[in-house]
Symmetry: C2
Subunit: 204 residues, 2 copies
DNA sequence: GATCATAAAGCGAATGCTCGTTCTTGACGA
DNA sequence: TCGTCAAGAACGAGCATTCGCTTTATGATC
């Protein structure tokens, strides 16, 4: 078996994915040609097609990976013990802390549009969103019990709103890489929790 | 039909734009072929190319139109005299009131991605966003003076947050047409103004 | 008001090009 | 020597766009 190590194969695959991510982020999925990716990776068509059956497979891999990063940022933040307001204020910065922020934000926007048209992608996205929403919902319910959030809010709907907030941040970050995550987070916190915890709302 | 009225020409042009919008919303800009649009409009290639020089011109027209609708909804809402909380709660419903909500939401998402790559589109989008942000900023400053919003918030950053909220709603609406604008708006209002106006914050 | 001439409006086969993908060939490690 | 990996020329499909022809509404003419 004249072969190469499994590590070599995995590394090659990752190289191709990285190259594809760079080009996809820059030009969008459908304005990026396979040749663009092949050139960016410094390989040949034959080589790339040994690792990925088709362009769609590349798009799906990149998209699912991109969703995973965002999901892990939100889920990771939710697990903390900090007040909800701090969590919200910190999410933009937490996303930026992943690195390669511009690329990630742009890929996220591309992925959102792609999911409207690509059923497997839509399914993957829906599943991950459901996870995030459910974690957020629980976190909000807890915050309500602690008197941090008005008990009149429906936790399910409030979760959608908070998720929307982060999506809006990502979108604006994709357009403007100079958008400051701390400023955005601080403004979100002040809007949502004007004077720290609301007095007199605790359920006990 | 030679030498026809200007109204006839405008109506034809509008027919083509409508057909293109339907297909673009369904399949995305780049998965929609000119033949798809031509078939949807019930015309021939020659006819369509008489009204639009190229596919990109179609994409730009549709995109700019889509942005305009969103801008007018937000700007229209901002002009009102209602409390900021009511404005925020009502924006999702106001967008839905435009009609053809699913199509509009999906087109908006497609446009966001396209603007990342298409300079003229990016410019048009940036200009409209600047308008909306500036109107929101003024509205927030007014609300702060009225004691509706914590004066600690930077109006500029707060405007970005509120804009992000609406963008998040549009995105979620594109994925899930059943998303209820009233629920979303109500949750946003409760989160941002937990107990109506905050007491004791008026500057006078 | 019927006929005609004109040029705009529409048609659709044809074009040229780009793209994703395949396949043959060669190189190289085991 | 054998199987794997990479290379890159080649291919066919599908795309946006063009162009020469046909159709037809309109204004002029009688």
């Amino acid at each position: 078996m004249p072969r190469v190590s499994a590590e070599y194969l995995a590394a090659r695959r990752e190289e191709i994915l990285d190259a594809a991510a760079r080009r996809f982020a820059a030009d969008g999925f459908h304005r990026t040609s396979m040749q663009d990716i092949i050139d960016e990776a410094g390989l040949s068509p034959g080589a790339v097609y040994r690792y990925f059956r088709a362009k769609d497979e590349l798009i799906e891999s990149i998209s699912v990976e991109a969703m995973g990063h965002i999901e892990s940022v939100v889920s990771g933040g939710i697990d903390g013990e900090e007040p909800l307001a701090d969590l919200i204020a910190g999410l933009p910065a937490a996303f930026d802390a992943l690195g390669r922020t511009d690329e990630r934000a742009r890929l996220a926007v591309q992925t959102w549009g792609e999911a409207l048209r690509n059923p497997p992608l839509a399914e993957a996205l829906a599943a991950r969103l459901a996870n995030v929403r459910s974690a957020l919902r629980d976190r909000i319910a807890t915050a309500q019990r602690a008197g941090e959030v008005d008990p009149a809010a429906d936790p399910d709907d409030a979760a959608k709103v908070l998720l929307g907030l982060l999506q809006g941040y990502l979108l604006q970050k994709a357009w403007d890489p100079d958008l400051d995550p701390a400023d955005f987070g601080r403004a979100a916190r002040v809007l949502i929790a004007p004077r720290q915890a609301m007095p007199g709302h605790s359920i006990d």
